[in-house]
Amino acid sequence: MRNGAFGKDIGRALYGDGLTELWAAALFLAMAAVWDVGGALVPALAVIAVFGWPVLDRVRRRIVEPRIGHATPADEEPKALGSGMAITTVAVIGGALFVAWWVGDLGLVRVWVAGIAGALVAAGTWYLAGRSNLTRHRILSMASIMWGFAVSVTWGDRGYDSLPIFFVGLAAAFAVTGAVALIAFLRANPRVDA
């Protein structure tokens, strides 16, 4: 054990398998599909959101735990997490509305909706990076904000219909990152049957 690297090692062990990114990719893809196809797919989104995590736990039990063992991350302070999420959401959306009002064109919010979504996803991923200590989570966070900006600049004239493009791109980035991390994890950690 290296002194000082302790919390980092544990964070990496808990989130290093890439499954969290794969789950997020499925969620983003479902969000894009719901936006594009419409309400008929809302149940699919609900299923992924509600049952995705338990399914992920089962997958972890089968392929991750025989390799590195089992650990449950420390509990969050639900109050602190909830207020943090609320403050971030209000700050990002409120900031965007304020800027649009300042400029005198509330329609700007429609143009920049992907950029706003990118900032929110970036905040969530940055928070995850704080827990996991994984550089790839910080990169995904920065990529989210840049992709949101790029979608707004390129397809902003589509208004809210630019969101599916944003979510599909995001899903691709998370899926590729998760898959690469999972393959690297499986290679680095052969199965140990006790």
Partner: protein, 100 residues
């Protein structure tokens, strides 16, 4: 100079490693801790046993998918002793000059 007084149960490096690891998670099993701490299974079992005897850690044995699993958690006493150890150690560290 007064003698440095540290909790010897906590101060031992292997046991301190186990306690710090458990302070960073809600619970962890034998394999996870052995692997993360880079300890041998026998060495880990001996030190975890001592921590259990002292009431700083508790363990729970179960079977998951037909495989035995021992889960470890820090007890309330373990958290308190680790906090006290941190405070004592900080006092010792503060007494060391920057260029001894």
């Amino acid at each position: 100079m007064s003698q440095v007084d540290l909790d010897r149960v906590v101060h031992e490096p292997a046991r301190l490693g186990i306690l710090v690891a458990l302070a960073n998670v809600k619970e962890a099993d034998f394999s996870f801790l052995v692997r993360t701490l880079g300890m041998t299974r026998g060495n880990f079992a001996a030190h975890a046993g001592r921590l259990e005897q002292e009431g700083l850690v508790d363990s729970e044995k179960s079977f998951v998918d037909g495989q035995p699993r021992t889960l470890y958690r820090l007890t309330a006493a373990g958290r308190r002793r680790l906090r006290e150890y941190r405070r004592d150690m900080q006092a010792v560290l503060a007494a060391i000059p920057k260029r001894p």
